[in-house]
């Protein structure tokens, strides 16, 4: 379990409860306090586990909470915030938002979710999660439009501070070793396609040009590489996985 995620959710919830609904109140210092592990009140693993179990929910529970917010239930707002905060943040991070921009956007999205629920705009015709993602989509598009960035830049720019950095630093060596192990299990072709697209930012056409093969082959090779990486990271015991690439290069 990644407990840091729970810590930030809790502090976000407290911030919310404290009445700082106004986006302008969400300043840089608040964001720093929110994500600082030093201020975590959930240092005990047992408490953290309890917190995780108490704050996970499925589509049906989320729908019930949405409806309760529509009926003016303030407690439901906090629960929604707890349930959604970290995940919305993770999704926005994958879309290329970083640091203070990311915090602002999450605050913006969750404020909009709660505001629209209060006004009864959730019509219960779509899944609650899809509805939240639609709001996130709109906010992300607005953000990049304001910034004048193109959509292609969204998944790049890994140099900035982000929600993963704290965790990555904590287990830096271990994480790096795992990634290297995962890469070592790929064939040279799979590894090159993965690293050249993810690291060097090459397009499928550019990789195809270098490898003298069709772009479709590059795409399918990357899918295979991603699937192998996933298998590695979801395996119950990674150390026991057979090392080295299987098949030909």
């Amino acid at each position: 379990l990644e407990f840091f995620a729970v810590d930030t959710s809790r502090f976000a919830a407290e911030r919310w409860e404290g009445g700082s609904h106004d986006k302008s109140a969400w300043d840089q210092s608040s964001a720093q306090a929110l994500f600082s592990t030093e201020t975590s009140a959930f240092r005990s693993p047992a408490k953290r586990l309890w917190y995780v179990l108490a704050h996970t929910m499925d589509e049906r529970q989320l729908r019930e909470l949405f409806l309760r917010i529509g009926q003016g239930d303030g407690g439901a707002e906090r629960e929604v915030y707890n349930a959604l905060f970290q995940r919305v943040r993770g999704i926005a991070h994958v879309r290329g938002l970083r640091g203070a921009d990311l915090d602002d956007l999450i605050q913006d999205v969750l404020s909009a979710v709660v505001e629209q629920l209060r006004r009864g705009r959730f019509l219960d015709q779509s899944a609650p999660s899809t509805w939240v993602i639609a709001i996130l989509n709109n906010k992300v598009v607005d953000y990049f439009r304001k910034r004048g960035r193109s959509d292609g830049l969204m998944t790049r720019a890994a140099d900035q501070v982000d929600f993963l950095t704290a965790r990555s630093r904590r287990g830096d060596q271990e994480r790096r070793a795992e990634v290297m192990q995962a890469l070592a299990r790929l064939t040279p072709t799979e590894r090159f396609v993965l690293t050249s697209t993810e690291l060097a930012g090459l397009t499928y056409d550019e990789v195809a040009d270098r490898l003298k093969c069709p772009a479709g082959t590059v795409a399918s090779t990357k899918n295979r590489a991603v699937r192998k990486v996933r298998e590695f990271f979801t395996a119950p015991n990674r150390r026991q996985l057979k090392g080295g690439p299987d098949g030909d290069v």
Partner: protein, 331 residues
């Protein structure tokens, strides 16, 4: 493994971490992430890995370069016709063909008026045939090396020797049983001289086949990920073992052997030219003889240059690939 209620979406979580997919698929995946704890846990794990992957730029660039070299370098060239050495293989085959054709012309040059009706066509025929057989032998050897067969050089030498025997014995009956070349010393009969000349022409493909086979084998080793073996052999490591059926002639030794052969040709040709008796076709004989010697020298020099460059290139690639593998292995 995940206990997600929607395995189809769960299978695509990693894709999301790597920046794909787009549109409705992406929305569905992200929405699912909000309500599925298993997928969320998986998303976090893989996202972290992707993050580390993007942060590890310096070391992974070396890995990326090593992979690219292995994928498009000399090792990968083994998949191509003649192992990517088309120019040198054609030069050797062409040289062999020219040597056989010139051998026939040299043998009859002194009595050109007796043989001119058919020998020009015959020399072109045996020359082209020899070049084609030699080229086919190279390609056959490449295919066997690629299949991992240990005795691949024998399968290349066999057809060349068989062809040389057929040509030598097939043409000999049409040549004179008496000496044709006039010199101050006893010369061979036309038939024996022709057979001896075909044997001399074999020097070119047979000497070139050994380094060619070695380079192909090293390419196969690179392609098969046996980088350490290649490095050990090429850096003269005491523990190095060449693959079964492969003979490694170091470039320096190859240069010495080729120089000795070139000297033998030069001295032999000079001795013959100095002792020739005058005749109406003396100039024609000398022209063919000198051409044959030049073909040998040029082809041997080309093979030597190609061999040194190929061995250096193999070493360079092996070092680069090894550096990339070391980065992965040390973790």
């Amino acid at each position: 493994m995940a206990m997600c209620s929607d395995p189809a979406l769960n299978a695509r979580i990693a894709e999301l971490c790597f920046g794909g997919p787009a549109g409705e698929d992406r929305t569905a995946l992200e929405a699912h992430l909000l309500v599925c704890d298993d997928c969320w846990a998986e998303f976090q794990r893989i996202s972290e890995a992707v993050h580390v992957l993007r942060e590890e730029k310096t070391s992974l660039e070396a890995v990326m370069a090593a992979d690219l070299i292995q994928l498009v370098g000399l090792g990968a060239h083994l998949q191509r016709r003649l192992g990517g050495h088309r120019a040198i293989a054609m030069a050797i085959s062409g040289g062999f063909g020219a040597m056989v054709a010139l051998a026939l012309l040299v043998e009859v040059a002194y009595q050109w008026e007796n043989y001119s009706t058919w020998v020009s066509y015959a020399s072109i025929g045996v020359g082209l045939g020899s070049a084609a057989v030699c080229l086919a032998a190279f390609e056959m050897m490449r295919a066997r090396v690629l299949a991992g067969r240990a005795n691949s050089i024998g399968f290349a030498i066999g057809p060349v020797l068989a062809w040389a025997a057929i040509v030598a014995l097939g043409v000999a009956p049409f040549l004179s049983a008496d000496p044709i070349v006039l010199a101050k010393f006893q010369t061979m009969t036309g038939r024996i001289g022709w057979i001896k000349s075909v044997g001399q022409a074999l020097q070119v493909p047979l000497l070139a086949l050994i380094p060619f086979h070695f380079v192909l084998t090293m390419q196969y080793e690179l392609w098969s990920n046996r980088i350490d073996r290649v490095l050990r052999v090429l850096t003269n490591d005491p523990m190095a073992v060449t693959p079964r059926g492969t003979l490694f002639i170091r470039p320096v030794l190859a240069a010495v052997l080729f120089a000795l052969l070139a000297m033998w040709w030069l001295i032999g040709s000079a001795h013959l030219l100095e002792n020739l008796e005058p005749g109406p076709y003396l100039a024609l004989f000398m022209g063919f003889g000198i051409s044959r010697m030049m073909v040998v020298l040029v082809v041997l020099l080309a093979v030597l240059i190609w061999y040194v460059r190929a061995v250096n290139e193999l070493k360079r690639e092996a070092i680069a690939i090894s550096a990339g593998r070391t980065i992965l292995d040390t973790h």
